[in-house]
Amino acid sequence: MNGACLTPIIPILFAFALPITSILVKGNRRVVMAYALTGTGLTLVSALKLFQSAYSSKEPLVYTFGGWTAPVGIIYEVDRMSALIALVTATLMFLIAIYSYRYIEEALEWYFTLYLGLEAGLLGVLLTGDAFNLFVMIEVTSIAAYALVMFYRDRGDSVVAGLKYALIGAVGTTMYFLALGVLYYGFGTLNFANLSALIHGLSFPVVGKPWGNVVVASGVALALATWAFLIKAAVFPNHFWLPEAHPAAPSPISAILSGLVVNVGVYSLARFVYTVYGGSLSAGLNSVVHALSVILMFLGAVSALFGALMMLVQRDVKRLIAYSTIMHMGYLVMAVGVGSQLALSAAIFHMVNHAVAKALLFLSAGVFIHAAGSRNLEDLAGLGRKFPVAMFSLAVASLSLVGVPPLNVFFSKLLLFNAFMGKSFLLALVLVLSSVTALVGYVRVFYEVWLGKPKGDVKARESWSMSGVCLVLALACIVIGLLAPYVVSHYIDPAATQAVNYKLYIQKAIEYASKVKLGL
């Protein structure tokens, strides 16, 4: 039992109490802000604690909710992969909360209620060890995201974009729900460890053997679940909501959506492919998983190329960055499809780096957008010289995302390149081609904002709460880049090793079953 596993509970409790608090203080912005910072800060502390215990123990951590062990109740099973991404999530959420204070000018209490709900959902997705709980947490994440995309309620484009996002997202989550129904029908359980045990022919309490035809059930369930996750990760052909939804949101929310929320899809996919369906399988299952991995690699490659090409023709800065998200999600899905442990470490590292750099890119672009009141590239021209810190951050972020050494994304791209080369030369070629294409897109932004001729006179000063956050993240990009070999060997590789070790994952869940004296 590890109390730090209760991390997702903290933000949701804070969210529950925020409306009443705001009514009590009559909507005082400072109090609301302090409250939100306390909430996200405590979550960050808890996530840090979780990270420490996950890396100091050799096994995944388990928390049994209500004292019920798998498969009877819901357990949180936190391995290093979850803990690492959870730490990144909590840190970014804390920093972006600081950034939001100046950016969001009205209805701060509603904003932060949704914000804390979003954080709870994101963390829950990462920590849970139960497939149905994953569905619920994805819904928590998504519904908060839909509402936040529609935050500018009097702008038609925001509401339309949020509505499209909500419609397609609802279809996706319902698909995943159907997949769960099929999984329960086929296996008789919904716990990841238990599913994995049944797939690998290991024993497990209560549900010791599969119920129906494992191959058919896995095929149908994986097809539906993959579709759902690809919608959440905005991978071609389910990407179309993203370039509308992400720009329409307020910039801090765009940063979260592009940096963290899309990771939900990739993380869940990786959990299924590596932990549940990892290792050696029977022939029937093997062909199912093989087909899945080919599809993932193909769609990922198309997505990466498509995103890169679309970046070239955008005039809206945020839309351009949104297409870059599609490109990076393509890389991640390709890496999940490759299926080797190297590919998983590359995917984890890239997920972390992309989250930091993409959030930074949106936040620093947000500084300019906030000042100019427009998202049009031409309107932002020349603003860079007025906001040196934000300009520096924008430079770091775009150079990093292109993959310029020694910034962080370069190293994860290198890992991805190695992983792709291990599978096929074509995949590696896609990576290189799309990166080069994206370079052109980023340089355009960079050039316009820094050297372009200013259109009008913008009277705005650099706000320290906004630029400071950008600076911290920019430094993070540089530091992670400089320390990349250390980070990979000490944090990323152990995470990947533990994520593919399904035997340990199962064993740990069973161990708890006997500890709570539920050994049936």
Binding site: M1, L6, I9, I12, L13, A15, F16, A17, P19, I20, I23, Y63, T64, F65, G66, G67, W68, P71, V72, G73, I74, E106, A107, W110, Y111, T113, L114, G117, A120, G121, G124, F132, N133, V136, M137, E139, V140, I143, A144, Y146, A147, M150, F151, R153, D154, V159, Y184, G188, T189, V206, V207, G208, W211, L518, L520
Partner: protein, 252 residues
């Protein structure tokens, strides 16, 4: 005609596939082991939630975390709707300007008054017997929300607001309900139990009926939260459109 052809094609394909599938399909007759576990243990046994209603014991005990976050989804959806329809202080004051009046004929209104009292009783019964019969906090809360809906239909929303049930109050009640759920979930941590643990921390039986331990508290608080949440939504939806158009500055 075109529609008819499409319909016929779909029906034929459906029946054909169904016939083909039925060749190697055996409808299940037995229980999943996990389902059997729940049925066996929901009231008796060492792994019990002390509630004869297996579904409720799964919903609030065995898989209570799901339901906690399901409540959170509903909470966020309502907060999202409030955010989407948010009004400034002056605007919400203006939205409240209006006199309660009968919008339907007199007999309908008179009956509504009595029905409202009865609905309140029925919804409380649904919520408080969630551990014994089908139903529970969410279902009871949905029934509860019918009462303000009827009042809005019969007497206009101003009748609710003038008598003290405005949006702010609804949100306060809702928050109280949600915090109640959270406190019930957190209580076991005080005695070194697990989050959302039910037995043996909460009493399983009282007044000659199974309480299901914490289930009855969860249901009660969920009842308040859901009822108040729907009420807030209905109050928001019943603001006249012209006022909203004015607030948004839309000319049509």
């Amino acid at each position: 005609m075109k529609r008819l052809i499409g319909l016929i094609i779909i029906l034929t394909i459906t029946l054909g596939v169904a016939y083909y599938v039925s060749q190697n399909l055996t409808p299940q007759k037995s229980l999943h082991p996990l389902g059997k576990f729940y049925l066996k243990n929901s009231y008796f046994g060492d792994y019990s939630a002390k509630s004869p209603e297996a579904v409720t014991s799964i919903v609030w005990d065995y898989r209570g975390l799901d339901t906690l976050f399901e409540t959170a989804v509903f909470f966020i959806a309502i907060i999202g709707s409030l955010t989407l329809f948010r009004l400034s202080k002056e605007q919400s004051e203006e939205a409240k300007q209006g006199e309660p009046k009968r919008e339907l004929p007199e007999p309908v209104c008179a009956v509504t008054k009595i029905i409202v009292a009865m609905i309140l009783a029925v919804s409380a019964s649904i919520a408080l017997h969630g551990q014994l019969t089908p139903g529970g906090g969410f279902q009871g809360g949905s029934a509860l929300a019918v009462a303000p809906l009827l009042i809005i239909a019969a007497y206009s929303k101003y009748a609710l607001e003038k008598n003290g049930l405005d949006k702010t109050r609804a949100i306060i009640i809702r928050s109280i309900g949600l915090l109640g759920i959270a406190l019930t979930a957190l209580t076991p941590l005080l005695v070194k139990g697990y989050f959302m643990q039910n037995q043996p921390i909460f009493p399983g039986k009282a007044l000659g009926a199974p309480l299901g331990g914490s289930l009855v508290y969860y249901n009660l608080f969920e009842y308040l939260a859901v009822g108040a949440g729907f009420t807030a939504v209905f109050l928001l939806l019943s603001i006249p459109e012209e006022k909203f158009r004015k607030f948004l500055g839309v000319k049509q």
